[in-house]
């Protein structure tokens, strides 16, 4: 009897075991994601994928800090005390620089993401996906991919080109050579041409269009000194009538209200959030003055205007106050305040600070620093992309380091100045009416008198102040050739109020930056001579 019980028990256990473990027990699809085969069927789903590559998630490694270091400090427009960044000021950048590896990573990450999406969407079309939905998204990816290679070619010169990272990863062959800079530029151009062909005429604000591609191509042609094409592409943008200068220069840079305004051809899209990290614009803390810091908004002015740039403005240039804060600069809406102590009282310094700022933020180099003053080495602070002390204090929303203002990578003013420069071409000067009109349009907004004759020097001076702190000046210097670059750089004052500092001995090898040391470790071919990418 007992034995029988036990065997019944045994049979029951056995049956239960076998029943519980069906084939599907170890087949567990993702609980939190969709698969490519059952997704990317609607325009929203597809566009929500390319959306990521417009965001700070992709770009912030370049846009935050590297852009200041490469585009501005190196070019003599900004000054810094930060140990990681002073080598850019003194032209002693080494291959181990964090800023170099961060920006390198950011550009190639955009390349990886766009390449993977292009492959995914092309496969989806091959599998019967809706080409009308998928093809414009592929063109967006080509735009972004072309744009990053344009940056790569300008920063590093000869550089690797990768189009299928997944396949390379699985083979394990990471020996990818550097290709000639002209080939990298050509690759970027071809990507932009694919974008130009596939992008729509118009789209919702912020999304790139055919004309965004044309604008970027115009700039690229200019760097190739292909003035005819540069002029033609700039003209196509001007002629489209879709873009114009935004009337208030200063307002473009201090509020996300003017995101994707009429002047924007391409902008990194930001959302004011900490999650996911990088989605927000993080220039507010690195540029804003510590006297503007509140519990909502971090500020530590890592980068400041250089003494040299402060002398570059013509009198009464409205762009000066739009670009930097100097003694007397104010913003009535921003009312930063210190919080009370736990017992509700204020320390004497905090009380004085609150009183000083009660009618709005004042940039003041005389006031005690603990009571609202600002006293840095160049007696000035960058205003562009500083959106203020946070919502509680009369500004817009700021979450710690993050704001929601989009960063304009190319705006219509650039198109106008490209047009003028391309018209000038190799000539010493021009009086071309359309070129002058384009050029003077930019000056008129700045409240400056018009010019009757244009020289390259005029255009370069205009570009410097128009695009100050937007990361373009280093490229403007270097594209003029080594001799001119050396002359510009060695003449600059890279010091502070207490002393002039000049860089001497600028050499040709500093025209391009070194490839990050960590990359060379894993890809020793990067140390070798560049190769052609195109066979002809």
């Amino acid at each position: 009897m007992i034995m029988k019980n036990r065997f019944i028990y045994f049979i029951v256990i056995l049956a239960a075991t076998l029943a519980s473990c069906s084939e599907s027990f170890t087949d567990r699809p993702s609980l939190s994601g969709a698969t490519v085969s059952n997704y990317y069927n609607t325009a929203d789903e597809v566009r929500a994928a390319t959306s990521t590559i417009y965001s700070g998630l992709a770009w912030s490694g370049y846009e935050a800090r590297a852009l200041d270091c490469i585009g501005e400090i190196l070019a003599g427009n900004e000054h810094t005390y930060n140990g990681d960044d002073t080598p850019f000021q003194l032209m002693t950048v080494s291959a181990t620089s964090v800023r170099l590896s961060d920006s390198w990573k950011a550009f190639y990450k955009v390349n990886g993401w766009t390449s993977a999406l292009i492959a995914t969407f092309e496969q989806k079309i091959a599998d019967g996906g809706d080409a009308a939905i998928l093809e414009p998204a592929i063109a967006e990816c080509h735009f972004l991919r072309g744009t990053v290679y344009f940056y790569i070619a300008r920063i590093w010169g000869h550089a690797p080109i990768v189009t299928d990272p997944g396949a390379i990863a699985l083979t394990g062959d990471f020996n990818i050579p550097r290709y000639f800079q002209e080939d990298v530029l050509r690759f970027a151009l071809e990507e932009l041409q694919l974008a130009e062909a596939g992008l729509p005429e118009t789209d919702v604000p912020g999304r790139v269009t055919k004309y965004s591609a044309k604008g970027m191509m115009a700039k690229l042609y200019l760097y190739q000194k292909d003035y005819a094409n540069a002029k033609a592409k700039a003209w196509e943008v001007m002629e489209s009538g879709q873009y114009d200068l935004f009337p208030d220069y200063r307002a473009m840079f201090n509020s996300s209200d003017n995101n994707n305004n009429i002047e924007t051809l391409f902008a990194v899209q930001h959302q004011c959030t900490m999650n996911p990290w990088g989605s927000g614009n993080q220039l507010n803390p690195d540029r804003g003055p510590s006297s503007l810091q509140t519990d909502e908004a971090s500020m530590w002015e890592l980068y400041r205007p250089s003494m040299d740039l402060r002398t570059a403005y013509e009198p009464n240039d409205k762009r000066r106050a739009g670009s930097m804060m100097e003694h007397g600069w104010n913003m009535a809406d921003w009312k930063p305040q210190k919080l009370p102590q736990a017992d509700g009282s204020f320390s004497p310094d905090d009380a004085a600070y609150n009183d000083f700022m009660k009618d709005g933020f004042r940039y003041d180099t005389i006031q005690d620093v603990k009571q609202g003053g600002t006293l840095n080495g160049t007696r000035s602070t960058i205003a562009k992309y500083v959106v203020g002390p946070g919502q509680k204090y009369g500004g817009e929303q700021v979450i710690g380091m993050n704001t929601g203002i989009n960063f304009m990578m190319q705006r219509y003013a650039d198109i106008l100045l490209i047009y003028a420069e391309a018209t000038l071409g190799e000539a010493a000067s021009t009086t071309d009416a359309t070129a002058l009109e384009a050029f003077n349009k930019v000056r008129l907004r700045a409240g400056l008198p018009v010019k009757e004759v244009l020289t390259l020097n005029d255009i370069m001076k205009e570009r410097r102040v128009e695009f100050a702190f937007e990361g373009d000046y280093w490229f403007d210097i270097t594209r003029q050739g080594f001799e001119k670059a050396k002359q510009i750089i060695e003449a600059q004052n890279r010091g502070t109020i207490s002393g002039i500092v000049r860089v001497t001995g600028f050499t040709e090898d500093k025209m391009f930056l070194p490839i990050p040391a960590s990359e060379v470790l894993q890809d020793p071919l990067l140390n070798e001579d560049p190769q052609p990418y195109y066979t002809k």
């Binding site: 993702s30 990521t52 291959a95 961060d102 810091q293 519990d295 320390s347 603990k370 006293l375 140390n527």
Partner: protein, 1052 residues
Amino acid sequence: MQNKLLRLTFLICLAAVMSTTMLFAQQRTVTGRVVDDNNAALPGASVVVKGTTIGTATDLNGNFTLPVPSDATTLVITFVGMDAKEVPITAGPINVTLTMSAEEVDAVVVIGYGTIRRSEVTSAIASVKTEEIQDLVVTGVDQALQGKVAGLQVMNNSGQPGGGVSVRVRGITSINSNDPLIVIDGVPFTNNNVENTGYDGLGGSDGQTQNSFLATLNPNDIESIDVLKDASAQAIYGSQAANGVILITTKKGKAGDGKVTYDFSYGLQQVGRTLDVMNLREFAEYQNSVIAELGSGYIPTEEFADPSLLGEGTDWQDAIFRQGYTMDHQLGISGGKENTSYYFSAGYFDQKGILIGSDFKRYSTRFNLDSQVKKWLRAGISSNITRAIQNVTLADAAESTIWWATLQNPLIPVRNLDGTWAGNYTVGGYTYTADNPVATSNSRGNKGVNSQIFGNIYADVIFFEGLSLRNEFSYQLGLQNNMAFQYEANIGTRSLQAQLYDSRNNSYYYAVRNYLNYNKNLGKHKLAFTGGHEAQYSYWENMGGKKVDLQNNILDMNAGGTDKLTWDLTGGKGDWAMESYFARGNYTFDDRYSLSLSYRGDKSSNFGPNKKWGFFPGASVGWTVTNEKFAANWANVMNYMKIRLGAGAVGNQNLPGGAPNPPYTSNVNFWPGPTGFGQVGTASTNFIAGIANPDLGWESVITYNGGIDFGFLNGKIDLTVDLYKKVTSNMLLFSTGPALLGIGDAWNDLKAPIGNVGQMTNTGIDISLVTRNISKPNFSWNTSFIFSHYKNVLDKLINESSSIDGKLYYDNYLITHTVPGYAVGTFWGLVTDGLFRTETDLANSFPQFGSAVSQNETWLGDVRYKDVHKDQVIDSKDLTFIGSPIPDFTFGLTNTFRYRDLDLSIFLQGSYGAEIFNFMKWQLERMNNVYYNQSTAVMDRYTATNKDGALPRFTNTNTNNTAMSDRYVEDGSYLRIQNITLGYRLPGTVINRAQMSNLRLFVTVQNLYTFTNYTGYDPEVGSYNNSIRLMNVDAGHYPNPRTYMGGVSVEF
């Protein structure tokens, strides 16, 4: 657990036999007491009339009363782990002293899905008993194993209460988690970490977020620990066993009267040593001198004109360290009646860390019950409920509390005169902006509350003698609440916003196991078989939110601001399932030859359709040489010798962090918040979460083990030596390459495909030596020595230039870089060759990273690097191997002395030959600005007037001096006086009056002194977040505290 069960069964059987015998035989009654060689009572010892089945067991006080037949002459007294003794039956009370058996050869060893006698073990298994670790000051049992088991490397990753512990069985098995499988009474735990939120959400660096899982369990409940070290032993656990298996058996009730135990200890903790940084006078002199060198653009600080007028300034290290404590209460109740035994306990542990902002509390209960329900059915339950509350301070990371405490300027006070926190100060035109670590630590926090419920229910059905079917159901339920918070506060001119991140993580796990056990002894043949089926499923989900502007700093979501734009809400879920079949056979012939074979097949949801199943065989043989006839006359010198050989394959499915779930797929995932055009109110932005690899399969580990066990001089000396080779192949790794591929393994990368990539080999030797130097009735001295050595080589990766990298400080600095041919975790950098001290040196210099010879670039006083690549330039090609974090050997030495009722143990442990990358030194000797404090070493830097200075010159333009180099690599060898404990057991006459059966008092000092040349806080650095990529990298390491503790154990 099993040995207790056996004993219990034996007693139950005896009792049954006795009750029948008593009725018939003519009888007299003998009484007596059984004690060990320390005169401590031995409860549960068996007392049997020789040649009969008549017997009994001793009670709690070691006493027995046994009716014996009138013709009986001799009693046989046995106790597990002790030598059996025969004593003549005499009229008076019979007092018997048992001594520890020579080699404990017949102790029962817990193995997977069963137990085995030590004499039949053919693989590498080490055992630790609770007595060996009971006096150590530990939060979790993982810490207690340090220096106790040969082949087991235990390092505290942080001195943080409840902080992470790296436990490595025989070297580094995997690039991913190296956590061994821990099985507690049949419940498996594959992940030895609990994760807290970290600090990066509040701004700045994250700190270590991986804390010890075992700290959340009460170590006082543990009876024994068995470590399965080689694959022939591990193979029964198949794909979960590659990192080794640690089997933990908790305490069970013993037959006899109920027993109440109470243990209490209290200890004070302090920091062992602090770093030498400059005081205010020294700093002022330093800044004056540096500004003179810098020239234009810098103005000397007027206040520093005469440094001798200044005081010492703030000692920031003194401000962040404090006296900590540990307090431990443990109440245990156990016993056994008739067919049932029980054990239940309640524990409370409280620790206050030596660094501000860190503490740990644990409440725990355990309940174990075993019952012989029917003759054919035994059933039981073991269950655990714990709740651990941990406050984790920001440590072991760049910009952590310790980091800032060494760098913050002595000029700045902790608090202003009006009592407010001091922050950035402007003195002499310079604004000092480094963080106030005391204020920050007081204003922010990371709290984890971790509740764990787990247990095992079993039923053993006995079909007939030798054959039984065991059914087990194991479960785990984890509830974890993590908070990262910041209070509204003012620190200098900086205002902090009140913020709260609050997340809940729920997880559950179950396993259903059914397996047959068959045991048969036929004369000289002993046969055992185990085989069965197991199904496991694991599920987790989490949800977290954030709010800011908390009213009154109340840490509750509802107290936060209502502006939804500042809100944050995230979630996630995942699961995993595995089905397995396993079998093991053991055969022993004549106690001379033993053979063990095992096999397991695992089918996991983690692998691609082409590679779902993994198969893991193991085999081992043993030969007990001393049981051969020819060895009989060796017995005087060598009484025991056994040779063991084994080989086996185990697997690993530990995936790299951030792997898609399941890992072989490419999915579309969604960002937790708005990105790009994904504004509030619109659909979430998506991204491709990985590149698919349907051929993804198991990581495989194959081990070969050869070992010899010796017993010399009749048990005076036991020596065990094991040699092993362990080959890990098909490692599960993201196939990442250089960043230019655009794919990677960071959270915001397009995830590289996970592949089976590369191979790694560990070869090593484990030695364990136990000597019983003196064994007199009143005095004994035993020594235990363990020695572990292994060599790790990464044989290959996806290609020769591919590497395993470790980065620090927001991932900006490459510290470790392992290419094939080197040990993992290898430090990578330039080799220094002194300084440029003369014009001739400069003239003969090679360009260093493109720098010219000039004041701003390479100049007098700069570091000269070796041209390793011999191409007359110093560049990234000259980066090379500059040190290894892996020790040549680690060791532990325990001496225990007993004199009458006094016991003394002295435990030393150490590590030899490992190097440490002292990243703090990089920061403290950086000399590139005039704001941060520096180590006093910078006072001896190169200057025009100190051309023999040991350190390079100050420069804020030439960054080459601070490139990663051997300048920061130090010898990390150490010998630590880990623990000295003096105990006193009160004599029986005293305690019996108080109705106690045992009372012991003890005092302990732990981590008394460390002999080392390392200049950081503590040479026991461990691994950052338990990762092999950052081992022995010191970025402001939370040092292990020194503890002075006293305690008492009472037994009623």
